[in-house]
């Protein structure tokens, strides 16, 4: 059976999610900013055309935003996560052989489906996602994942393709032309490190890489290079990765609204970030063996410093209280009022499943304490789930304005909060009586 892969890639995903509930923003420049430091994390095509780069700090581009009337949103991850799940659901219905590669990209293995016209198949999937969920996608179909990825890029650039590029039933001249048009930096797996090295050797297009001798590619890029040449020639070297089931580590970090030397501000941040990370951990039925925090001064200012501390726990935990207390204690080992702290983060890693504590470790654990903590956590999670996040919090978790993310321009959580549902107005009388 010949391998065939499709990559389904959502166009400007975060922007498309915002436009779903704001149809008036179609064809207008829109950007989504990261919720804490206000850098551009997604751009509509119109915003790209206006010359706004990815990662641009909003305050530096204020003038350009005003000039082009760019609509700004703070990231609304609850919305994006929900829409992403819906798309995965539809794709899983088409075939269970799916690899969710990121929040807005999924690979499908089509080799077991009986498809004659791949381009027509792609167009129907694209139409279905647009109609049922309201998100535009691009689809690349190819005998290898690298070519499928390249196909989505081509599909996005050429409007006459209807968002689908098929490398399977593609004349060799057309394929070569497509590879010739693709600069090496757009090839999946060629990063910023490799690109200058390849350029120095005279390689600028994907077609040149495809025509490399495999041995030479291996000399230049290692085994990865040999695989890359093979993939670009339509011979698959990668298969679907099994779905990532559990997180390996959880990190939460925030930039303070203004730099601070106040211990209570840092402690409040630890408490809130720690509570949020621990909630995630409990959701996955995991316990962390190692927890840590890091903090830094502004790296654009002189005297930049950073600190990181890690604690290895005797007993793995997902208790917000324990995690916060341990990290606040660590903060005390290096905190100084002479520093202007700019950013703080909390991380949890080295996970074990919750059940493991009750079986393997039973002899070493004070289980009554553990059970009590567990009941308390379950109660907190229940209340927060019902009333919305942040209704029940730890005393230290003061909701001080200094470090709160600037959510002022975040759109409503349309699909995850009862109080924030989109509103439909009963139409004026003229439209309401049925003709």
């Amino acid at each position: 059976m010949k391998p065939v892969f499709a990559l389904i890639d959502c166009n400007n995903f975060f922007v498309s999610c915002e436009r779903l509930f704001r149809p008036d923003l179609e064809h207008r420049p829109v950007v989504v900013l990261s919720s804490n430091d206000g850098c551009v994390v997604a751009r509509s095509n119109e915003a790209k055309a206006a010359g706004i780069p990815m990662g641009a700090p909003a305050f530096k581009f204020k003038y350009l935003f005003q000039q082009h009337k760019v609509h700004q949103f703070s990231a609304n991850f609850e919305l994006y996560g929900n829409i992403s799940k819906r798309i995965t659901e539809i794709l899983t219905e088409i075939t269970p052989r799916i690899e969710v590669y990121s929040v807005d990209e999924s690979f499908l293995d089509l080799s077991t489906l009986h498809i004659v016209d791949y381009a027509a198949w792609g167009k129907s999937v694209r139409a279905r996602i647009w109609r049922e969920i309201g998100i535009p996608v691009s689809i690349g179909i190819a005998p290898s994942k690298t070519l499928a990825k390249l196909g989505t890029e081509l599909a996005k650039k050429q409007s006459d393709l209807d968002g689908v590029f098929d490398f399977v039933n593609c004349k060799p001249e057309l394929r070569n032309q497509a590879l010739h048009q693709t600069p090496i930096k757009d090839i999946w797996g060629i990063g910023w490190r490799l690109e200058p090295r390849l350029r120095a050797e005279g390689f600028t297009t994907a077609l040149q890489i495809a025509r490399m001798r495999p041995q030479y590619a291996q000399q230049l890029m290692g085994i990865h290079g040999r695989q890359l040449v093979s993939e670009l020639n339509g011979v698959s070297a990668h298969t679907l990765e099994p779905i990532k089931t559990v997180a390996k580590s959880i990190m939460r970090s925030r930039t303070f609204g203004e730099d601070t030397n106040q211990a209570h501000v840092l402690e409040a941040a630890i408490a809130s970030l720690g509570a949020s990370a621990a909630y995630r951990l409990r959701n996955q039925d995991l316990l962390a063996r190692r927890i840590g925090l890091f903090t830094m001064t502004n790296r654009h200012k002189p005297g930049y410093r950073r600190w990181a501390r890690e604690v290895i726990l005797d007993t793995p935990t997902n208790d917000s209280g324990e995690i916060i207390a341990a990290l606040v204690k660590e903060l005390g080992t290096f905190f100084s009022t002479k520093q202007a702290y700019h950013r703080l983060g909390v991380f949890l890693h080295d996970f074990v499943p919750t059940e493991a504590l009750q079986t393997d470790l039973l002899g070493f654990v004070d289980t009554t304490r553990h059970d009590k903590a567990r009941a308390r956590m379950a109660a907190i999670d229940r209340i927060n789930n019902r009333l919305g996040k942040g209704k029940v919090y730890y005393a230290a978790e003061d909701l001080s304005k200094v470090w709160q993310p600037k959510h002022t321009i975040r759109s409503p959580r349309y699909v995850s909060q009862w109080s924030e549902l989109p509103v439909a107005h009963i139409a004026p009388i003229a439209y309401t009586s049925q003709s």
Binding site: R86, R131, V423, A427, Y431
Partner: protein
């Protein structure tokens, strides 16, 4: 199934499995009634009081399934470019220039909220 015969001729049946023991058979799931396709189902809050005689009240929740084709007597949600708001009306009276959003499959009216 086993039947035990007692002296007075009454038989007692034993060993028949209790159908209610399988919870998946016994429970009606309200979600199943209202949501056929979770991926394409969205909820809206209704605003406006002049449709009460039709049984649609201010603050009701509308269930929308984007996967459905709209027929002329369907209730639909559309984006009104003039007011900059979502509107609800019959498909047949949706203005031609409006952007269609989805078909309303039910509305939920709560007399007491949970």
């Amino acid at each position: 199934m086993q039947a035990e015969h007692h002296n007075n001729g009454v038989s007692v049946h034993a060993g028949f499995p209790n159908p209610a023991a399988d919870k998946s058979l016994g429970n009606l799931d309200i979600h199943q009634l209202l949501v056929q396709r979770p991926a394409s189902t969205f909820l809206f809050r209704i605003a406006g009081s002049h449709w009460q005689e039709l049984g649609i009240f201010d603050n009701d929740i509308a269930v929308i399934d984007r996967a459905l084709d709209a027929h002329s007597n369907d209730l639909v949600i559309w984006w009104d470019d003039i007011t900059g708001e979502f509107s609800i009306s019959y498909r047949s009276t949706m203005p031609v220039e409006a952007t269609f959003w989805g078909v309303v499959t039910s509305t939920i009216h709560q007399f007491r909220s949970a």
